[in-house]
């Protein structure tokens, strides 16, 4: 047996925009064990439910993350509405669905750019971020915010989208779909990319399931887990199938994200066709008394907001289980046995969001 040495990876590393630390135990160039460490920037946002009224807290829930911001606020208000037994207007459900798919598009394009950049693929980085601008422009035009939308509230949404604007959005997405297809084709069919990703960082289907993998990390290993299938918001009225790849390697996880962008565009198109007329919010009185696990599918996978109220203005507990948090044990497993040089690539294929994990 070779002598073992421990190499620290992070919390500052060129491929890591946020602090994650891994102690990599090496034998020669092979990783034989991994000890993950987070907690460098833990903010304790969940504790603020004791200081903020439940209706105001939605702004804090949205600020858990700057990428999945909309879906955090959506999941939070969804939980409150379930406890209070509120049936919000159907149009609001469709609008939430549209904005959540826009969030997924901008997150996946952000990831694609960062991932390509980490491998030196500058043209894919610049083109994916150029396309992302189009998504952010639509988000800004319809909600007022590019990163933090602030449009979800208990009982519905704060803004409506006119039919003309919806048509314009769909046409715009159709316009970039072709460019997106070119971009993902270049990325997924490039021989250097395939060489760096295929057969690397393999996570078996069974490991993915029992280690708690979610989102593209799970679906890249053949697990068809997608919380949108539970039918929350308007997803129950939309036809879609989760994108699943079966090889479990880095390439499969990347392919899932690349293909999911087209599913998101299709979902937005369907929503634009089916969205009913009507109001977008309702009057809400009282305070939640009960508990609920609210689930949604974020770009990185299943997010859970556990909400417990006692009929008073402050909630008793708000606990958020983010997808990155539950994807850490699978990351530990898929790093074991890899080469040291592959660690940065493997880490980025789970698309870690430490902002979410350190809520």
């Amino acid at each position: 047996m070779s002598k073992q040495i421990t190499v620290p990876f992070g919390p500052q590393h060129p491929v890591l925009p946020e602090p994650l630390h891994l102690d990599l135990v090496l034998e020669d160039e092979k990783v034989v064990d991994v000890i993950p460490t987070i907690g460098y920037v833990h903010r304790g946002l969940e504790k603020l439910v004791e200081k903020r009224e439940y209706t105001e807290y939605v702004f804090i829930a949205e600020r858990i993350c700057g990428i999945c911001s909309f879906i955090h606020s959506q999941t939070y208000v969804q939980g409150i509405e379930q406890i209070m037994g509120l049936e919000i207007p159907e149009r609001a459900q469709y609008l939430r669905t549209i904005w959540s798919e826009y969030s997924r598009l901008h997150s996946h394009l952000l990831w694609l750019g960062c991932f390509a950049d980490s491998m030196g693929f500058e043209s894919v980085f610049m083109n994916s971020w150029r396309l992302r601008e189009h998504i952010l422009d639509d988000l800004e035009a319809t909600t007022g915010g590019r990163v933090i939308q602030g449009v979800c509230k208990v009982g519905g949404v704060r803004r409506d989208i006119t039919p003309e604007k919806l048509d314009e959005m769909v046409k715009g997405l159709k316009g970039i779909e072709h460019e997106l297809q070119d971009l993902t084709n270049v990325f997924l069919h490039d021989s250097s990319i395939q060489h760096r990703l295929k057969g690397i960082g393999v996570l078996s289907k069974e490991d993915a399931y029992y280690l708690g993998a979610v989102g593209p990390t799970a679906r890249g290993s053949g697990l068809a887990i997608d919380i949108r299938e539970t039918g929350y918001a308007a997803f129950g009225k939309i036809n879609f199938k989760p994108v699943v790849e079966y090889d479990g390697d880095c390439y499969a996880r990347c392919a899932v994200r690349a293909k999911e962008m087209f599913t998101s565009i299709d979902i937005i198109e369907q929503c634009a066709k089916k969205i009913p007329d009507g109001t977008v919010d309702m009057k809400v009185t009282g305070a939640p008394d009960g508990e609920y696990f609210s689930r949604a599918e974020q770009p990185r996978g299943e997010v859970i907001h556990y909400i417990k109220g006692n009929g008073k203005k402050n909630l008793v507990r708000h606990r958020v289980r983010t997808p990155t948090f539950t994807n850490i044990p699978p990351l530990v497993t898929l790093l074991k046995g890899c080469d040291l040089a592959d660690v940065p690539v493997i880490v980025l294929t789970i698309d870690p969001c430490i902002g979410c994990a350190e809520r």
Binding site: E50, E291, V316, R319, T326
Partner: protein
């Protein structure tokens, strides 16, 4: 409306048995979360299969020791270290035990204290 959710109360002694049963039944571990209720702590274990959640709740005191299920579900270590670091509840037998360094907080066990509220009147009347 989405599906109703039921959380079954169990004793500390049943935690491992229920985890073993859940794994045998092909369920994945979704999360373990803790909530402080007055002087007690509620810990909820959530499992899932085919989008059907199964939840168990134990109620413990600050100085109680709870068993780890990381021997059954490897990924449980992140939740168990979190419960220890934020609430100060000791979890016995975690496979990767950070011994209080999983989260680096300036206040030890910050979630074990409830912020007292003077006014409970809801503005949303």
């Amino acid at each position: 409306m989405m599906e109703p959710q039921l959380i079954t109360p169990i004793s500390i002694g049943d935690v491992v048995t229920k985890a073993e049963q859940a794994k045998k039944d092909g369920k994945r571990l979704v999360q373990i979360g803790c909530t402080k209720i007055e002087d007690n702590f509620e810990i909820i274990y959530v499992y899932d299969k085919n989008y059907q959640m199964t939840s168990y709740r134990i109620t413990v005191k600050q100085d109680d020791e709870i068993p780890s299920i990381s021997g059954i579900y490897f990924g449980a270590f992140v939740y168990e270290n979190e419960i220890h670091d934020l609430y100060g509840i000791h979890v016995k037998g975690i496979n990767i035990d950070f011994k209080g360094t999983f989260y680096k907080t300036t206040i030890k066990h910050p979630f074990s204290v409830t912020i007292v509220k003077e006014d409970d009147t809801c503005q949303n009347k």
